[in-house]
Symmetry: none
């Protein structure tokens, strides 16, 4: 999956020293956290460097620009989610059983990188310019297939064909929103969504949501 830093033009060092590789990784970690919290514009290279424990110019030994760093963060962060999605959607459709499993897997992946959804949300809000290239090649076809398969499930009895995409988007928003609103809930309710119990509760909730909205059996009134 090594498409890392496609835009990191100049410094793209041919042979990575283990030391350098580790530094680059640490930079990515720091940048991921900061971009997720403050967005692109709100994140300073100074903040990244400080977090890594390095001087600002050193960042440029690993990434050609703030923008390239941002792209690399997105790329690295999105890869596993894409993998899960494409893996799970490969063979079958959106029946409640599989959808439930998909939801569970996605939640598991995101639980390990809870900043990721916020990162994507930031990017989405500001236009998704960096998302588009990645998604055009990955998510768009996935979305299309999800749609096709969903059309072939009993769910269509309840949901019209043109509503299926809305349903998929809705799930997307619920899942992403859960992580997005995390820090606020933490402050308001004192409940940290990075807590395992909280995540499990949300996963259960999502499962029930799937079962209610996309039942395997045709609804009773059919």
């Amino acid at each position: 999956m090594s498409l890392a830093s496609a835009s990191a033009a100049r410094p793209a060092p041919p042979r990575r020293t283990p030391k350098g590789e580790r530094t680059a990784e640490r930079i990515l970690d720091a940048a991921e956290a900061l971009f997720a919290e403050h967005g692109y514009a709100g994140t300073t290279l100074r903040a990244v460097a400080d977090r890594v424990g390095v001087r600002i110019p050193s960042l440029y030994n690993h990434f050609a620009s703030k923008d390239a760093l941002y792209a690399a963060v997105l790329e690295r962060g999105l890869a596993p989610v894409i993998a899960v999605l494409s893996d799970t959607l490969e063979p079958e459709g959106l029946g409640s059983r599989d959808s439930g499993e998909l939801v569970e897997r996605v939640m598991a992946v995101l639980a390990e990188r809870p900043e990721l959804p916020r990162l994507v949300q930031h990017e989405t809000l500001t236009g998704g310019q960096h998302l588009t290239p990645m998604l055009r090649s990955w998510v768009t076809p996935l979305f299309a297939r999800a749609h096709d398969l969903a059309m072939a499930t009993p769910a269509t009895r309840r949901w019209g064909p043109e509503q299926i995409p809305l349903l998929v988007l809705a799930f997307y928003h619920v899942v992403v929103g859960f992580f997005t609103i995390a820090p606020l809930l933490h402050e308001w309710v004192g409940e940290d969504p990075r807590d395992e119990a909280v995540i499990e509760r949300q996963t259960r909730f999502l499962r029930q949501l799937v079962e209610t909205l996309l039942p395997d059996e045709p609804p009773a009134d059919a």
Copy 2:
């Protein structure tokens, strides 16, 4: 802090102190659009001034600082939504009929100010520091009441009491997410969510979501 025009504002120009008020309003409009698109950090006073057709220092004749301008934008934007929410939730609970109506009203309000959800999303993502004071006095009690009332509806048979808040949040995310993802969809699918037809479709979808998730009648298996 000059809380500008707590009512719906845009279509009906409020009492106009001939000139200044109109300028302040135009500044708020410009700032709202820009903050919604780029967030606080990504929005420049120069950009605001340019959009208004005025020089930067003039902004300071109407708002004490960038921060104050931002607060005013949030305040003005949130007021009508809060009004709808508190109005609708006042007497009764979350039965599907009323919930459907609530969803419809909220969609109607947001359809007139589609940047608002993005504004709130930005703020939420970056910590919601500006949101907290407003919400602590408005939304938090609303939320509590919604919860209480929901507990008294048949929905509880399907959803455990601790799931009700998750359900409410889920609806929040679906509604807000619809507007949030607008520009991307516009670019990817060519579908402008500010389009009336698109909004109506989404509203229908939300209605059906409400009916499915919070049926008036106890579910068939009860």
Copy 3:
């Protein structure tokens, strides 16, 4: 002649306050001296600001960028020389009498702004990108006319038609070179070419050069 700062996009202030105008002028003065001495790359905005007695950001209130400042310096500096050239060349040709007069006038103009030739030399050496637009509209036609007229003088008996441009260029180089090499001569011979006597000597020399190379009368051996 106010074509000042054609590329100074943003700040181009509509109404110039006398104070601001004076500041802009002082910036131009400082920049002219520095660009002439160190060239574009070798000149720092810090150096300019220091010389003006102002902070760096203030420069941006008057010129949109280092590049725009540079262009404005060139423009302002070149204008009078262009004026002299086009004025003198207007009616007649390159006969020794008029050419001598032209040389004299040019020397007089340059004597008042001895940094100008160095400025132009720097620009020429580094590609003349900033010169081209100015010269395309001014010098190129002048050059053409000079050529045409020269062709009609007795000089052609001595110089073939294709040599006339070389002759013109040679004069250009001798004149410009005199000022260009000034600081070196000052250091080596202790002779300051900004000295009036030195300039007058050079002017006499140029006059004799003109008379020798472009005699009014056909050369004796013809």
Copy 4:
């Protein structure tokens, strides 16, 4: 200071200490071209390294600093010209015949390294600090001798003794200026002064200039 290869250098690769020397030479070539085009301040070590196809730190294996590299470039470039000058001026004076020959030889040397005059011009314009030591030991005595000899030729009948240096300088400027203005002419007239025909034309022109300004025979009117 590693004075590299004082002879004509490029066509005949000097004694090659297998690898390093060749790299040093390639660095000098790249640096010469870049310094000539952009001057000292406008040339970055990155640009040099890129042109050589090597990483920046490698440059430091061959030259102690940017400044040392610059000095080496000047030294290597100037040596052959100095050689020609001192050789030609050795025995005799500035009679038109010998002067013509000198001009021809200088043109020949420069034609092989057309960047050299631009290099020197850059250096001259920015103060000539690096030139001074070289010139003090080479050119200054040459100049003095040229002056002495010139004083003993018939030319003095036309040119006063104090004008001889001006004449020499004028030739210097015409010769150097020809190469200096090359890129501009290339762009404006489409005529590449590195073209053999162009150089020959200029040489012919210079010869005629010499004959006109420094005739062997006393001028007809004497």
